[in-house]
């Protein structure tokens, strides 16, 4: 019994390590977009010790690890992404302050919708279900965020006079 549990634990740890090594980069990029942090000007530059994105991703990955044996065929990547979105939505108020990242001018909810829909390619219905919003609302937020992002395309980049208030932040 004890040996069987030990064998299962080591097997799980191995599978999880392989998954995290493969998916870590993409997930950390998504987490960085969500928290609105800047990955630095150097591609692949360090985020800094224990950044908010890293903490967010560690929490999401830990939850995936804890559920590893009960995923029942669900893709661990999808599960981690869902955990990431849920954790971010719960802590959205912490990320209202712009941090100089690409999506710094958007509200946390707009960032979440944009990352899920455009970066992760999640279907509108799934994103709406994950956020607990009607599909039309997700579509409207996505359209608005796209327009906002295009209005500050790289050549017209400038700081907004004041950060947008996070009215109706991701709930």
């Amino acid at each position: 019994m004890r040996e069987r549990r030990a064998a299962r634990e080591s097997g799980r740890a191995r599978e999880f390590a392989a998954f995290a090594a493969g998916a870590g980069g993409r997930l950390l990029h998504a987490a960085t977009l969500l928290t609105g942090e800047s990955p630095g000007d150097i591609p692949g530059g360090p985020l800094g010790e224990n950044s908010a994105a890293e903490r967010l991703l560690t929490a999401a990955l830990a939850r995936t690890y804890a559920r590893w044996d009960r995923l029942r065929g669900e893709d661990p990547y999808d599960h981690t992404r869902r955990e990431l979105a849920t954790l971010f939505a719960h802590r959205a108020w912490r990320y209202r302050r712009p941090r100089g990242g690409l999506l710094g001018q958007l509200t946390p909810q707009e960032r979440l919708v944009l990352v899920l829909r455009l970066h992760e390619g999640v279907a509108e219905e799934q994103a709406a279900a994950a956020l607990g919003l009607p599909v039309e609302r997700v579509r409207a937020i996505c359209t608005r965020s796209v327009a906002l992002m295009r209005s500050r395309a790289p050549e017209t980049r400038r700081a907004r006079p004041e950060p947008r208030r996070a009215a109706g932040a991701a709930s």
């Binding site: 950390l28 990955p39 591609p43 530059g45 929490a59 690890y65 690409l102 796209v146």
Partner: protein, 83 residues
């Protein structure tokens, strides 16, 4: 391709900017935290089972001793009427 799709594509390309480097110990930290979480869940479940079994045993013992399904013996004689 509609203009809406094209706009989305532009933003999608913007989102695909430089990726941050993944710290080498991130997976280990997550695994350690997940392991602690799992242990905690298991402990909570074990305590729940112990409480449930204790409650069942306590109820059974009480039921066997008190036998609440038997009618209690009458303490008073019924009043005599019709004399």
């Amino acid at each position: 391709m509609s203009s809406h799709d094209r706009k989305e594509d532009v933003v999608r390309r913007m989102l695909n900017g430089p990726h941050p480097a993944v710290p080498p110990d991130l997976a280990d930290r997550a695994a350690g935290r997940g392991r602690r979480m799992l242990r905690r869940h298991r402990a909570v479940r074990a305590v729940g089972w112990v409480l449930l079994i204790a409650a069942i045993i306590a109820f059974t013992v009480w039921a066997v001793i008190v036998q609440p399904w038997t009618t209690p013996p009458t303490d008073t004689t019924p009043p005599l009427e019709g004399w």
